[in-house]
């Protein structure tokens, strides 16, 4: 196979990992919303935790995006 084509396919495959991060981020915001509707007065205090969890979860998706970008432009 042409190495350039293999790189393109590899970058595409690497992006599948971002789907997992999408599921995780959706879970975090969904659970936050469910909990916030049960107890709205406590919701404001947990906003920082929400963003932190979102950032940590998103980091894993970013790693797969990084692999894709490296395959496309750097390697």
């Amino acid at each position: 196979m042409d190495p350039q084509a293999a790189k393109m396919i590899g970058a595409g495959i690497a992006c599948i990992g971002m789907g997992g991060a999408g599921v995780g981020v959706g879970t975090i915001f969904g659970h936050y919303l469910a909990a916030a509707l049960r107890n709205p007065s406590a919701a404001q205090g947990q906003f920082g935790n929400l963003i932190f969890g979102f950032a940590v979860t998103e980091a894993l998706g970013i790693f797969s995006l990084l692999i894709a970008l490296l395959l496309l432009f750097a390697l």
């Binding site: 920082g48 963003i51 932190f52 979102f54 950032a55 998103e58 980091a59 970013i62 790693f63 995006l65 990084l66 970008l69």
Partner: protein, 248 residues
């Protein structure tokens, strides 16, 4: 239209030449200066009158101060407030540059990885240096959580070290990738409008849909611009908290 074209760095005028490297004033540097000037004008204008009942400009400055101060205090404690200038500068710098980037025909400084990596490494080394300076070797307790059974402790420590080292990567690539992807998406949908518009009257009718989407995406980008600046600031606070209070 090439959607990557907007990220091109253009030389405006050369400054110096050291060895084989050319140092020039680029559009990136220009927009960084514009952002800096806007923040300076906002802060100077807001603090010049200092009314007890704040006006509009003073309210903006007070709200942003309180916002960052609350975030820092809730994550790093009152001891963390000595890092307030760092966190506030980072937050305002990234926020203003992100928001400037949404305006058409401008340049998004934060969509270049060299900028975000520099900012993330600044935070990373601040954490390491301050952590060792304040705690000495007790800073290593950060990697050894307490209350873990001894037989899985090596594995946990290895994972902790790995996650600590990967922090600047995720810290910088998050901001860079969000800005890059958002602006490429905007440009692609903008390209649909001009492509459909070339087909004449029926094309104009069809172009309404991507035009509306471009407007909606711009609103989303405004949210992302704020959210990413906030995420960058709150992660800085959490990392600084590790340096101030190591050990779990």
């Amino acid at each position: 239209m090439d959607p990557i074209h907007q990220f091109e760095i253009k030389k405006l005028f050369p400054i110096a030449r050291i060895g084989g490297m050319e140092i020039a004033f680029t559009n990136s540097a220009l927009f960084m200066l514009i952002g800096l000037l806007l923040i300076l004008l906002l802060m100077l204008g807001a603090t010049s009158s200092r009314a007890l009942v704040p006006g509009r400009l003073q309210s903006v400055a007070e709200i942003s101060y309180e916002f960052v101060a609350t975030t820092l205090r809730s994550t790093a404690g009152t001891e963390g407030m000595k890092f307030f200038p760092l966190v506030f500068s980072l937050f305002m710098f990234i926020l203003v540059l992100n928001v400037i980037g949404i305006i058409p025909y401008t340049f998004t400084v934060t969509s270049h990885i060299i900028i975000t990596v520099s900012l993330a490494l600044l935070v990373f080394f601040t954490v390491i240096i301050y952590g060792f300076w304040k705690n000495g070797l007790r800073f290593f307790k950060l990697f050894v959580p307490s209350g873990i059974p001894i037989y899985i402790l090596p594995l946990v420590t290895f994972i902790e070290v790995l996650s600590f080292l990967s922090r600047p990567v995720s810290h910088s690539v998050r901001l860079f990738a969000n800005m890059l992807a958002g602006h490429i998406t905007l440009k692609v949908f903008g390209g649909f409008v001009t492509m459909l518009g070339a087909f004449g009257f029926l094309g104009w009718l069809g172009a309404v849909l991507p035009l509306g989407l471009t407007v909606a995406l711009t609103a989303l980008e405004l949210l992302v611009a704020f959210l990413q600046a906030y995420v960058f600031a709150i992660l800085t606070c959490i990392y600084l908290n590790d340096a101030i209070h190591p050990g779990h």
